[in-house]
């Protein structure tokens, strides 16, 4: 990926963007195609999926068979580089020693950020998701409706390519005709779950994922995305033609060298660079938003990690898209006379109301799947089917002991073996020799896991602040995390466990493990699903929010936040698609302001 060093940067840009993932990538894409001059700061190194992705590598070719280690938390081939739960020299701290209040923070220090390895699950928030408080009195409403953001969901889906179907289900929006790509066929685990779901009244349908099941229509989509902008249409069309459709092998978490799935590094950044309007400075660790005497942002102070020196870029507007936690940290560290508590923090809400996704899972062993005829079950490198939340009416009628919904993700069965034993030890205990090999073959592929991905309500006890003493290796104060689940999340996890048990039993299967006594036995630690959102929520009023519905901070008019920090709530729908939709909308606003000479 073409990048520049600090010394090559221009004296001033229209916009400085911190972060190169979903939010920063979309911002750079939209602004540069409209002609704005942008500089992007990325804390990690440059990264090129075309040349660096391990597409067909197998376990006998990797150290330790590719299993996870502290150096590579999600396994050797995970595309995350220089990141993970722990980044050397860049700690974060816990406010509590209570394990139930632990927060785990995934950080990717690389070009494209987490978009390189994410699960590609691309679900739209629905109308209820923006107005939860109006509906059930809990949490907060967004200052925006589904109908207002809908055109941007449409555009993002057309740009990145999302497979799936329109099912017309409650609060699970359809896309306009022709926008979605065809869904992949159901695999054994998908179809088994779908059939069992029918018996227990849980709908199972094709999921939406940002993977191309056929090439994008490069001849018509660009004109829909960029009407009247011939140069943009040409660049975007060429970029779409450079992407191939999925060839049905290798997991998406490794990244994709043929650009069949969405990652910022293959979809957003190449066309942005092609405009000639984008300079990317890698190894640039943002420290503060710089504020001029007029109270407006005029640049970003950062550490050039190649030299360890503090550097500056100047710009007429600043966009933070560093990931919600990192953007919060930058805001809180940007202290000056005008903003003694951190930039854009007059409400005192920077860092507050951080939410993750409620995550839990249950595994079952399905006798019907034993000794199945071998067949290729790889598919699209991730989920094919899922179960959107289905109990809206029961919930509204007060029949459930928790608010908001969860969706169910279905874990594959016949995955590529290697590294760890492909069959849990309980199933081969006491065996060796040919008997062991026969039993391994019998049980391989007979396990299904069902995962809960649910909405966490914002609460007063889940937030981030600056640690008063701990600093990273550059002397920058780090975040201290406070975390607490409420009964809503814990009861939801228990409901999911019961539901999963009933689905597994409806398949004639056996649930693995011992039943949970409370939600705390099964819920994954805060941050563990890597969907941490909030910390600088948007709202109607500067007193109880950090930014307005345009992702523009109330206090500093030319400072915008386009990662998940402005999220008011965290619907069960995975955040990435929404980050992009809001970032595109914010970019259009910035372009309009620039045209009016307001930057």
């Amino acid at each position: 990926m073409p990048t520049i060093s600090v010394s090559q940067s221009k004296s001033e840009y229209d916009v400085a963007i911190v972060g190169s993932g979903a939010g920063g990538g979309q911002m750079a894409y939209t602004l540069t195609l409209a002609g704005l001059k942008c500089v992007m700061l990325e804390a990690g190194r440059s990264y090129d999926p075309v040349t660096e992705t391990p597409m067909f590598q197998t376990a006998d070719q990797a150290p330790l068979g590719g299993v996870s280690t502290p150096d590579k938390d999600m396994g050797f081939w995970d595309s995350t580089i220089d990141g993970g739960w722990d980044v050397p020299g860049e700690p974060y701290t816990q406010a509590s020693t209570n394990k139930d209040q632990e927060f785990t923070w995934w950080r990717a220090r690389m070009m494209g950020g987490r978009t390189n390895h994410w699960g590609r699950i691309s679900l739209r928030n629905g109308p209820y998701d923006f107005k939860g408080r109006s509906r059930d009195g809990l949490g907060f409403d967004w200052p925006i409706t589904y109908d207002e953001i809908k055109p941007y969901y449409d555009k993002v889906e057309m740009l990145i390519g999302v497979y799936g179907t329109n099912e017309g289900m409650e609060n699970t929006p359809d896309s306009p005709p022709g926008v979605l790509q065809p869904p992949p066929k159901g695999r054994v685990g998908d179809l088994m779950t779908q059939k069992a779901g029918k018996k227990v009244c849980v709908p199972v349908v094709p999921i939406h994922r940002a993977v191309l099941t056929r090439p994008l229509d490069a001849n018509t989509i660009p004109a829909k995305l960029h009407p009247g902008n011939k140069k943009a249409q040409k660049i975007v069309g060429d970029s779409m033609r450079a992407r191939a459709a999925c060839f049905w092998a290798t997991p998406c978490g490794r990244g994709c060298s043929i650009a069949a799935n969405y990652q910022s590094t293959t979809v957003h950044l190449p066309p942005a660079l092609k405009t000639g309007n984008l300079d990317i400075i890698p190894n640039a660790h943002a420290r503060e938003v710089l504020i001029g005497k007029n109270g407006k942002a005029n640049g970003v102070l950062f550490i050039d990690k190649t030299t360890g020196k503090e550097e500056r870029v100047k710009a007429k507007a600043v966009v933070l898209a560093a990931s919600s936690g990192e953007s919060v940290r930058i805001l809180l560290n940007s202290k000056n006379d005008q903003f003694p508590d951190g930039v854009a923090n007059s409400s005192g809400l920077v860092g507050k109301y951080i939410m993750d996704t409620v995550g839990s899972s249950l595994k079952g062993q399905i006798p019907a799947l034993e000794n199945l005829t071998p067949h290729n079950d790889d598919g699209a490198g991730g989920s094919h089917f899922y179960s959107p939340w289905w109990l809206y009416k029961e919930q509204l009628a007060g029949k459930l002991d928790f608010a908001r919904g969860y969706h169910i993700e279905i874990g594959g069965t016949r995955r590529m073996p290697g590294g760890n034993s492909p069959v849990p030890g309980d199933y081969t205990r006491g065996l060796y020799g040919t008997k062991l090999k026969k039993e391994a073959r019998r049980y391989y592929g007979s396990f299904i896991s069902l995962a809960c991905r649910g909405e966490m309500l914002p609460n007063d006890n889940s937030f981030a602040e600056l640690d008063p003493t701990v600093k990273d290796k550059w002397g920058i104060p780090v975040l201290r995390w406070h975390w607490k689940w409420t009964d809503h999340e814990l009861n939801m996890a228990m409901h999911a466990e019961r539901t999963f048990g009933s689905i597994i039993e409806a398949m004639g299967g056996n649930v693995l493990g011992t039943p949970a006594k409370t939600g705390l036995d099964i819920i994954r630690a805060g941050g563990n699903v890597k969907h941490e959102v909030g910390g600088a929520r948007m709202g109607e009023d500067s007193k109880d929010s950090v930014c307005n519905s345009m992702n523009q901070t109330w206090d500093v008019k030319n400072l915008f936040l386009t990662d998940a920090a402005p999220f008011v709530t965290n619907a069960d729908k995975n955040p990435t698609l929404s980050i992009m939709a809001f970032s595109w909308r914010c970019a259009d606003h910035i372009i309009e302001q620039a045209r009016q000479g307001n930057l």
């Binding site: 376990a59 502290p70 150096d71 050797f76 390895h117 066929k185 049905w248 874990g411 069959v423 073959r441």
Partner: protein, 219 residues
Amino acid sequence: METHESLPRLSRRQVLKWFAAAAAASQASPFMAFSQDSLPAAVGYGSDPKVNDIYKRGDFWPLTLSPEQRKTVTALADVILPADDLGPAASQLRVPDFIDEWVSAPYPKQQRDRETVLAGLTWINEESNRQFKKDFADLTIKQQQSLCDVLSKQDHIDSKIRQAASFFRTFTSLSMGAYYSTPEGWKAIGYTGNVPSATFAGPPQEVLDKLGLEQTVKS
């Protein structure tokens, strides 16, 4: 993030422990190993290894098993995963190399397994010599199997044998992880993927019929 539903349900506590271990360990960078128990100080592959490459065992850290330990590992792995109709013997698929790489690795989990494995290898040779006056690798297959029969039982009262049985489970699991990492192992277990294709047809009709399923995504 679907791919990453990697942390299984039972193990939240394990996961937290793992985080704690990782956090403690990552105070030093690159990852430094403790050199107790004769393991030379080694570093891991770091947070940015070249991942789209093909590696051999020993490329990142030295293999540390002694020739005698390797002999025992090879013999035991071949009893656990012998040559038969389903595929070649473990040693033909370089399972001993994998186990050597594993117990030589400078990471906390692997170092814990090292303790288990080294102690188990010592136990099995001592027991072999006590019963048969020979090292395990030099026994007949029947004699080797008689020792494995003891270790694969679940209800040991003697704490030493219980530990050895625990070693046998760990060793079996590692051997299976290694064996099924290979193309021959895939064939043995019935994995047929990792091949590019222009289309994805889903499960074959024969499989759908057997399971009473219908393909609900029509083309």
